[in-house]
Symmetry: C2
Subunit: 265 residues, 2 copies
Amino acid sequence: MQHNASLTTPYAIRNMIRNEDYTGSTSGFVPGFVQANLVILPQRYAFDFLQFCQVNKKACPIVASSRTPGATSIPNVAHDLDIRTDIPRYRIFKNGQLIEEVTNIKEQWRDDLVTFLIGCSFSFEESLKLAGLEIRNITENKNVPMYMTNIPCESAGIFHANMVVSMRPMKPADAIRAIQICSRFPDVHGAPVHFGDPAAIGIKDINRPNFGESVTIKDGEVPVFWACGVTPQVAIANAAPDFCITHSPGHMLITDIQNAHISAF
Amino acid sequence: MQHNASLTTPYAIRNMIRNEDYTGSTSGFVPGFVQANLVILPQRYAFDFLQFCQVNKKACPIVASSRTPGATSIPNVAHDLDIRTDIPRYRIFKNGQLIEEVTNIKEQWRDDLVTFLIGCSFSFEESLKLAGLEIRNITENKNVPMYMTNIPCESAGIFHANMVVSMRPMKPADAIRAIQICSRFPDVHGAPVHFGDPAAIGIKDINRPNFGESVTIKDGEVPVFWACGVTPQVAIANAAPDFCITHSPGHMLITDIQNAHISAF
């Protein structure tokens, strides 16, 4: 009982992850707190990447970043954070190729690494649920469907990509409410970027997502599309930097930042 | 007549400025279009500065930035932009000291310079006026009063500062409307950061601003404080980079971006 109670705080979960007592997905963990995508790059790529995120805010909203190359913590994000151990599972890339998946990056750590945390749709899905909207991927217990589009991001240095979007089907009235709610959360992708005809943004078959799983679209529903945090991963794959670390999909950093705290208004 | 009509477009004004036919303040020019603060820094400071702006968005909202060191234009900002000539007046700083004020920077230009455009309160003042609110500094034809506060910005690399705020007195009902309206404009400082007691944010005498001019506060009004774009200038003065170029106060870049286009919702 004591044990379970303590796991209701982000700090307790991070400690469990740090000790490698848990190495699984963080989906659904500690409702109410921001979970973040991780990108770690050598300092020489840091300006280009930060600029790519800055000019493509909807797809790549920066929640926080380390302030000194080699720093393993980030101000105002998580108590006693050690970015090398506090995420369940990491991916190591060399020249754009996935080399290995590991449960800590103590051996891979270098003094020139800069850490970026990028907002994740878990936060706005929670706000939509609180407003009584159904999130189909949650109802169907699936990973949200994600699609490559023909919407070009702005390029910055070596980083370029078309936008990746996630899709949630909704009745028009619910879509309108979702647009209102998500407008309050620019740091986790903000309002949708499109609804309706998938072909209008270059999606050939709505039933064959490029990432995640297909979900049911019922009669009277329209697909609603949000800019997706997989976009920076595509930009990194395109740029193929000689070294990069990310989280493994679904294995996020659980921060001490409350979802309610990041609303714009 | 032909001449005046043509000056209703940002491009026409920029051309007049490029030709040095006009070297004055841009206040009130081409209503409806975003005017931007200018910061130009050598590439080696660019990451720290972009990160400082990113973690202090309210005070330092980045509107756009050049994508390649030495580039004299910026994508999606202004047709045929040449950042070396299209601003009426520039300030050259060396080691944090103002060296000279010039009307173009063709001689000072270097291949390692990166340009940042930062949002300016002209945009939200226009939205407030359209909503029928009185802006006291405009009514009294004064530069808005600005104050150093004790609100610390987050530091990034060499850049650190306390927040500078601008102040507009309002009746509470108008302040509430202003909070709603400005929430829609996170890229030009967003919602206010404080209202009421100046001492609560470290302002000793509301009648003695650190920058700009004092304005009348009438009975029944409260001072309302917004994060101010002078903050990055204080951060630059504190950091004293060996080289830096800014616009001269009030002598802004007039972009082709419409104020309405930068609203978050």
